[in-house]
Symmetry: D2
Subunit: 426 residues, 4 copies
């Protein structure tokens, strides 16, 4: 009897099946285990109490979706490069290994990108993932890194990891919907898998699956508005980013030992390596904020207390960009109320947020469109050419949403709020 | 201790709660029990094996949704006419009591409408529902009938039973989605309930619920394409309608005793009353088809065998209406193959099917739009004014879908199919 | 590209996957399609409105479970006779093909067994299933019949179709639980599949799956009490059985044309063949009852009206078997009230009902126990040897439950009910 | 219009409804927000990736269950002390406010109990929860504390928070089952709520709900074995406890500044107050372990690395308690392999784990039994008197489960493992 397959129980996929010992070994590396301590949705759990799931669970899920797609290809005898199966599994599992704590806020403060870090960690000879991958073949880590970096020549493998229908998106949309409880972010994942075909070296959907794909794209649209760009979720992100900016500012002004954690301090200072990067996780950042509650710098201490005790900034929706005059007036008001506007008055708009719903072929974040394949004619048609709701959704994204975030003390003060309303509303 | 509430276990709502003995008594009438023998989705179970649920379960569900909405109004202290609560419950529960077997096909053959039959049954002094209602007050049956007929002056009560957000639609969309397993027809029903407000004497949704309403309308759109207008579901409906037309034709040509069931025979003949109408259900119609398998009329016998053994007609999608010439050519082909085109060659298009997705204010099937209510300004805005996907969905409905249904023997014959393709495709 | 796999959407398994054209052809036979018109749970839909699913959906489900188990065996390289795969699929799909309408009541009146009919239908040269099977090989129908009849020498194949962990039970328990909404009848089906191993020529469960198996057996226990032996579900069965007994009695007294359906009449008369048996389904039986509402025989007419309008008999729980004296007293009372006790006074007890929960090795309905396999030692242990709750459950079944069913007019009459209580309660 | 009810989306209850502003204000206190940073299941997320939910979500859930039960009482007109509604809500919401990080391990090391801390935090005049409660009435904090401490004279209120059917258990069992994905830990919560009645000043279940209660108690049994006492879940707990014991040992030997966090240091040292206790959460403990990876004490450093990188100890099941001789032999072996047995050789048995399944009236953890109420006679019967499976389950708990945990280096060494097997197995 061969070695028994291993499984993980999972609230999204039911079970995650692992047959290949390589995958098992990768899961057990220190770098993968670190993802258990990084929340998938950053600070969104402050809005959706169920949104407490980790990058680890998501990474297993990406692997599982890719496994299901490949199994579907092989069961139906579709031509595809079977020798690259492990490569696809490994790249799917590891694509987020470079994620910074709290998902996106720290990245934006450090001006770094998790995709590049994923590649660096995989290529770095001292990481455990590198060593496990190198046991397959000396160049295997580089191949995995190439798939994640989209340089690998086998485009279909790249598509499984990064495209409009990749394992990454299919898992995170479904997982975030299930965990936050946002029902209409759900879609029919088994049917999505079933309509996928490898054609012209990319992942496309059968024509007959048009409405399934529409439903999936609309689920993305809903998740975007109900979770990813939810005004209260954004409030927490704005607060966290300002807090980290302040910490960075203080470090760069000379306070090198700002936190009890040297790796975090080096990150904020700017000169750091893979080991430092990997030493930081959500718990470290939260613990740093705990230690900053009584920091001599009033701004850092105050913002830390606000985040930990969940006193989030309040927001006003802006119909149009504020004129320079009006923005100055608001800034003055915030300053007069005793707050440093650099950290307490933030304009947040689409574009500053990780942006992910479908825009059609030219402008998609992954640079590629989503195509339907006609079984009889063999032709490929781009989704927004055939579906009115999808075209409309793409239109809607042009609508700018802007919000201005201010401390509750300012936004909630009836006198100030009157003035604010005058300046903010046209 | 008051009488304990009663419940029904239900796959959609979990439980259906009944406190009012009136509702309990109505459920136990003969006319309500008849709905247990009428499938909610007609012949759709021939395509979706799970779609075997009855009008009875749906009717309980409509009542339950209305109960939840009213409880939400009362819990939140919204002003609404509480004295009409029972009226709303009863009208919701009974609105479908006049449904003909197999839901829509028989209606179209008899040129009758279930809404009118619902009213007639409620007003008819000899039905059990009438008697139970009349025990409340002599004019109560007439009031319930008025609500169903939308003549009742309390518009909010009418809205609970028939409007863009009524209990009927909210239940059947969700139920049909759950039972057929079409995941993306699901929406967040508890949240829909929570965003409803009675304003300006109608049921409107809070502004903050815009995306919830969008998701609900899009679920309608998906159910329409995946179930209600699914080509195979339509095939069975087309077959059933042709079969019933043939039976009616034979009856009207003089064969009064066409089936072993006198009530059914009278229905087909045209002179029938409430008792006859109520005596007919799905089982009677199916049993009649069983008895027609060996009927001397070859068309009736053949169509009955095809329906019972599930040999459904095949279809071709038409890009544009067929020219008269081409249609004649197809008709000739069908006739040459030995089939009577009147019963074996059917063009099916949107408009012939019960049509239900949202078209905006002017054109909605219930004549009214779906409005968002701005809590601050008090203004109402119609959905397609603010939502691009909803506007697009309404546009899409202008796209005509036409299909021509033919017997498998014709459609599947390679020689004929070649000719057909030439005539049918432009 | 090979032919694309086909699927059915299913509320229990999500999707049912069909790769083998044989299975597809079997599904499309007339005999399989007939199962769409036979309710899985007989009259239970009169108690659980959701319990309206058919034997057809269940039969697909049995096939799907067997497909999953075999795929699990093959994926994990367990030794098993792969050449018998189609045989297992076909036998699973067809095992219920001989079911009579309303599942069990007619069987008990006709003193026939659906398992034998399944075999007969498969072996009969004129049925479509026979012809499809015979296309595989001339002796294939006989092999399939042997598997269903448990005579096939490959015991593992037989176990997949009939054993304590067979596809039949695994599907119907789960399906009945899902459809009736009885949550605690659910169990973890994917995990059950995963712990199965073919050992010593039978289907056993890995030791590590003990609690999974316990949960499955307890789910059976709960379904038994909450659905299969629910007092109101039994009330409808008792009524239906009495009604059919009366019809049989009248036929055997000479009224050969009791219903408009000659096949049903021949069934009740006793001399009938496969074609007659297959011509009868739920709709025919219901339509017969419709026609009997005005039958000159008062008992048949009354029982038909009661069933169709859902006026079910009422019950009293009996602590012990009634003494002959007391039973006579009750019978007299029923007769005095104007009802024929042979059809209106029924004692229902465990043993008269299709009995299915686990009793340990010796006494199981399928004659075999449920065994755990210890991976290290290779030993097999029977479940009730290691699990206290399972042993206890088996004990509990010794508790006899007896109920006496009487017409509401008798049971609800306060004067009679007083006397009844005196006689019935000790 | 009254203030709109507020809701939280929740994966277990769908929505959590908050009408009372007191509850809203309590949720927004610093002490409640701290529970967002304490995982409900401690280290179980290292075994069940989905088990990442917090005490905060659970606390909302307890409140919601209590709200549903009270609403059911009031809807059905059951007599109960409505004036204590807020008290029940507040006590349910706050009962876990004193939980230490990682749920149970730190408690056992500090020899403290979260229930007492909950009371202390509520009574302490400087906490925000105290201040919010005291705004209701000066003695309100004391009343809430009395309910949690089971000293409050209104026993029914106490029962809602602590009894065999309390909101605490009903929520955590269901939540843990949903989040870990252990299907058979689920039960029918809405039906449990519906069968509850306040009788004889306690919370009892209607007789007719016997099987519902059985299913709930069996779900507890399964959760116990599949999650709470799962050997790998216990491995992580054993490792964490040993690690914390080592840290405490070092502190008590003089290393007062063992971590960067003074509050944690004071906890480990033994002299600490409410503020210190509240300053510690999961993130602080994890961050401390990060800082201990390079600690000069080899044991602390090694255990920290093992926990963070998930190198859990391995286990052997013991059939019987090890004799002193054999235990000494194992201890020697561990020592010889270079590990300090005090921290690397742990016997774990039932009784050392938070123990929670039903044992009958005398021995239940909350000292009280679970009773069924007969509506006709008014009698109460204890569950294990009427239900064989429940009696059996209670028996089964007498079965001692003992495991010995050792480092992988020892347990996995084939030579050592041979010796171990000889000593450990009888």
């Amino acid at each position: 009897m061969r070695e028994q397959e291993k499984v993980f129980k999972d609230p999204v996929h039911g079970y995650i099946y692992v047959h290949d010992p390589l995958i098992w070994d990768l899961i057990n590396t220190r770098e993968m285990q670190r993802l258990r301590r990084i929340r998938q949705l950053g600070t969104a759990y402050l809005t959706y109490p169920g949104g407490e799931h980790s990058r680890f669970a998501h990474s297993l899920g990406v692997y599982e979706v890719i496994r299901q797609v490949i199994s579907h290809f092989e069961r139906n005898g579709y031509g595809w490069p079977a020798e690259d199966r492990r490569l696809a599994y490994a790249a799917g599992l590891l694509h987020d290994i470079g994620h910074a704590p709290f998902s996106h806020a720290l990245e934006s403060v450090l001006l770094t990108q998790h995709e590049q870090w994923s590649e660096q960690i995989i290529r770095h000879p001292e990481t455990e993932v590198h060593q496990v991958l190198a046991d397959v073949a000396p160049d295997f880590p580089a191949l995995v890194s190439d798939v994640i970096g989209k340089r690998y020549p086998g485009r279909i493998i790249v598509s499984l990891v990064s495209s409009q229908l990749d394992g990454d998106r299919l898992d995170y949309l479904m997982r975030d919907a299930v965990m936050t409880g946002v029902d209409y972010g759900r879609f029919d994942l088994p049917r999505i898998v079933r309509i996928l075909v490898p054609k012209h070296d990319r992942l496309v959907a059968r024509q007959s699956g048009q409405h399934t794909v529409e439903a999936y794209l609309l689920a993305r649209y809903f998740m975007y508005w109900q979770v990813y760009f939810h005004p209260v979720c954004r409030a927490a992100e704005v607060l966290l980013r300002n807090l980290l900016e302040r910490a960075k500012h203080l470090v760069r002004c000379g306070e090198r030992e700002i936190s009890p954690f040297s790796a975090l301090n080096r990150l904020l200072a700017g000169g750091y390596g893979v080991a430092d990067y990997l030493a930081v996780d959500d718990s470290l950042l939260l613990a740093a904020m705990h230690s900053w509650r009584d920091h001599p710098d009033g701004v850092l201490a105050d913002l830390s207390r606000r985040l930990i005790d969940r006193h989030l900034p309040k927001y006003f929706e802006l119909q149009a960009p504020l004129s320079q005059d009006r923005l100055s007036a608001v800034v003055d008001l915030v300053r007069t109320a005793g707050f440093d506007p650099a950290y307490y008055c933030t304009v947040d708009e689409i574009g500053t947020v990780y942006y992910d719903y479908y825009l059609g072929a030219q402008t998609g974040t992954h640079g590629d469109g989503l195509f339907l394949w006609d079984e009889t004619s063999g032709a490929l048609t781009e989704m927004s050419q055939v579906s009115e709701p999808i075209r409309a959704m793409a239109q809607e994204t042009k609508r700018k949403v802007r919000r201005i975030y201010l401390p509750e003390e300012v936004a909630g003060d009836p006198r100030l709020s009157l003035q604010l309303n005058r300046w903010i509303r046209p």
